[in-house]
């Protein structure tokens, strides 16, 4: 048995037998990990206040071996993200981030870059105006995909490898993961599905920091195209529908109705 300490973000928790919980964290040292919080369902459990998503914690964990689940020994709350948890729309967005990380990342593969990106996104999510949240998410999608090795090719044609001027880009191959130049597009009979503004926006979101991305002002049409393209690309990468996306819309509708 060994003990390790790490910073971690709570992604998801579910009930285990009796009073225990399994918590999925994204940790600084070990990437995505599953840990048993014994008694985590009890109302007076020492872990219960900490293991609420998307809290940012310090963990002390027992590790028994490859074939056993790690057991939580101690947890300290660094930041509980109450501003997210007490707001339906923000909470739905943070759940989307958590689902994306769970579905995209591999178990026990550390990526400090991804860890700090999630953290940064959550801190912004807690305080920026709600109308900027969609761009924050688009920024996270592109950056996390890149960190995990699925960076879409936005400069060079995915078929011929030639550098393509924005004016000559005509489509984006979801399964190929990048732009397709005009001549390749014709040769491979691909649909025209992307505008020059969308490519520009994608590049901006990919290479700027998230704060800057949220200040980007896009035409409604471009924003929708960016969203659709990333949604298709993610669906292809994950091979699974995102459960959380419908909640964002539902909760937004509820708040708008309420006024």
């Amino acid at each position: 048995m060994s003990l390790y300490k790490t910073k971690a973000i709570v992604l998801k928790d579910y009930d285990l037998k009796e009073q225990d919980k399994i918590v999925i964290f994204y940790s600084l040292k070990y990437g995505k990990i599953r840990i048993v919080a014994k008694g985590g369902r009890k109302i007076k459990s020492k872990f219960a206040p900490a293991i609420q998503p998307p809290s940012y914690l310090n963990l002390l964990v027992y590790r028994y071996g490859r074939d056993d689940l790690d057991i939580l020994s101690e947890s300290w709350i660094v930041h509980p993200f109450l501003g997210i948890r007490r707001d339906l729309v923000r909470f739905a967005y943070s759940s989307y981030i958590a689902e994306l990380v769970i579905k995209l990342s591999a178990e026990r593969e550390a990526s400090p870059a991804l860890f700090y990106l999630i953290l940064k996104i959550l801190f912004l999510m807690e305080k920026i105006p709600k109308r900027d949240l969609p761009l924050l998410i688009r920024s996270f999608e592109l950056k996390s995909l890149s960190i995990l090795g699925y960076k879409p090719s936005l400069e060079n044609c995915i078929y011929c490898g030639e550098r393509v001027e924005e004016a000559n880009i005509s489509s984006f191959g979801v399964s190929e993961g990048g732009i397709i130049c005009e001549s390749c597009q014709k040769r491979h009979k691909r649909k025209l599905n992307i505008s020059r503004e969308t490519i520009k926006a994608l590049k901006f979101l990919l290479y700027s920091n998230p704060e800057k991305s949220t200040k980007l002002r896009l035409e409604e049409k471009v924003q929708r195209e960016v969203e659709k393209l990333l949604k298709d690309y993610l669906l292809y990468r994950i091979g699974d529908k995102m459960l959380t996306s419908s909640f964002i819309d539902n909760f937004k509708n509820l708040e708008e109705r309420e006024g």
Binding site: L11, K12, D13, Y14, K17, E18, Q19, G40, R41, K42, I43, K44, S45, F47, A48, P49, A50, I51, Q52, P53, R85, R86, D87, L88, F91, A92, S95, Y96, A98, E99, L243, T244, S246, F247, N250, F251, L254, E255, E258
Partner: protein, 200 residues
């Protein structure tokens, strides 16, 4: 490997139960194998009866053998106060405390985006209907004090706040987190008596 088909089948079924792993399932299966027939048939009958007779109350959504349930039928209960809980087991908890004289509404779940459980997947719509009918003065949101329970409470608050009803939330007197199921009676009593107006 030596195996008996019907034994394997039982072990398979048992290990689907909460808190029962492969090993315990085997132990129970062998116990059943050795135990007298009458005893085991009685157990099987009890399980069958539960599934055949118990249904959900058409008013409050709690588990019951008669519809409406005993609590909804009881003329001495104050129908102007509805206590909203996540699970039928929470009703048992509140009833054990004996202080609450209102009626219940059982959601049979909590909203959780990451688990894909939305408002349509739990028993919310009938609650809205109950409140809209009028005569309800107070709705106590007694969902669990964890992230899912809080999300559900906020959702219900937004949904109900346009209606003319007082909305309160259990006071916890304890840090957030955990399931009500594991609260002791005193904690629950304090939470009920210290309930506060919900505000956003």
């Amino acid at each position: 490997m030596y195996s008996v088909k019907s034994l394997n089948r039982l072990v398979g079924e048992l290990s689907k139960l909460p808190g029962i792993g492969e090993k315990s399932a085997e132990r129970i299966a062998f116990f059943i194998l050795k135990e007298r027939k009458e005893n085991i048939f009685r157990l099987a009958e009890a399980i069958r009866e539960l599934k055949e007779r118990v249904k959900y109350c058409s008013i409050c959504g709690n588990v019951t053998e008669e519809d409406p349930c005993k609590i909804c039928q009881d003329g001495t209960r104050d129908r102007s106060i509805i206590c909203v809980v996540e699970e039928p087991r929470d009703v048992f908890l509140f009833e054990r405390v004996k202080r609450f004289k209102g009626v219940y509404h059982v959601l049979r779940g909590a909203i959780s985006p990451i688990k894909g459980i939305g408002s349509e997947d739990i028993n919310i719509r009938p609650l809205l209907e109950r409140v809209k009918k009028g005569n309800v003065k107070e709705v106590i949101l007694a969902t669990d004090p964890n992230a899912e329970g809080e999300t559900t409470a906020i959702y219900l608050f937004k949904l109900l706040s346009s209606l003319n009803v007082r909305i309160t939330r259990l006071a916890h007197g304890l840090p957030a987190g955990g399931d009500l199921e594991f609260a002791d009676e005193l904690t629950l009593l304090e939470a009920l008596e210290g309930r506060r107006e919900m505000r956003f």
